[in-house]
Amino acid sequence: MARMRFLCDIERCIDCNGCVVACKEGNGVPVGINRRRVVTINEGRPGERSLSISCMHCSNAPCIAVCPVKAIYQREDGIVLVNKDICIGCGYCFIACPFGAPQFPKGDTFGKRGVMDKCTFCAGGPAPTFSEKERRLYGQNRIAEGKVPLCAAMCSTKALLAGDGDKISQIFQERVARRGTGAKAPGWSVAY
């Protein structure tokens, strides 16, 4: 069984935010929610590196472990999804996630917080595939169409890879070997 993964090649990521907008525009994510974002270290100095991060779809996902209502689950192919009909918006998954992936719509009154929203690997959600409900709550289901998630597909420099973990790993290791430098993908060796 293929194991779905993301990998961001920091030697290639140029902080163009293409992935961020591709995700938002494609999935109709509201302003204020960021399923994916780009972080930059050492900005303006030699050693500046950018990295596009979202939910890493961990094998041993703390969010699943911590969810008090078991609204978060993992598909066979490793994609971690949330059932928005069950989620109560408690925020525990956010506290448990080392990547800050779970997102909550937040209003200005009393810290109002809706149900959790996060990267779906463009695999929709538990609602019927391609239904209106799925599109509204979770966004597109590109995996069901046999397509790559939008962020990776639209990555301007092909820095962001998505797909079967073995393949991705191979591609990246080959890139590294070709480069002859010791480039590392952050989170790769540890997050999976």
Partner: protein, 197 residues
Amino acid sequence: MAFKRAVNEKRSKAKVTRKFTLNPKVARRSFLKIAAASAAFAGLSLGPKVVRRLEADEKKAPYPGSKIVRTVCTHCAVGCGIKAEVQNGVWVRQEVASDHPVSRGGHCCKGAGAIDMVTSEKRLKSPMKRVNGKWQKISWGEALDEVCKRLLEIREKHGPDAVHWNGSAKVSNEMAYLQRKLAAFWGTNNIDHQARI
């Protein structure tokens, strides 16, 4: 449901097999393959299993009856391809032009949000003119009549060079050509566009 919930998998069995190929031959071949197109990459990485299993779903396409229109991003001169998925005359979503020879599906944030040019709520909705400091909606007929009348008056009174035309680098070649042609027919060389900038 197309998938099985793995709710209880607290300790997943998934494991990564790390292959470290330093054989340059292999490395190069595969590198070129992935560099070739992310379309191939999509097919490769998703694996047949997922796709096949999901094809059993009752609905096969999210937008039945839609068609793909090939177009070009309007944001910079790289000329990235865009595949616009159109259903019943509505641009429903932006597909990935992963087979475009220049962009290979890539977009920066502006291109990734190209659909917003059409769907933006901030678009001008109708012709307008300002009356006593307030914007007023007018019809196209009125607007064009008034604008053209006033332009012709100015031409009559001050000569053709009293009008300056600022054309655009964001329109098609045809339109840019017409803009230059219009200035010529109007009788002035006072036309310019962003390439000067």
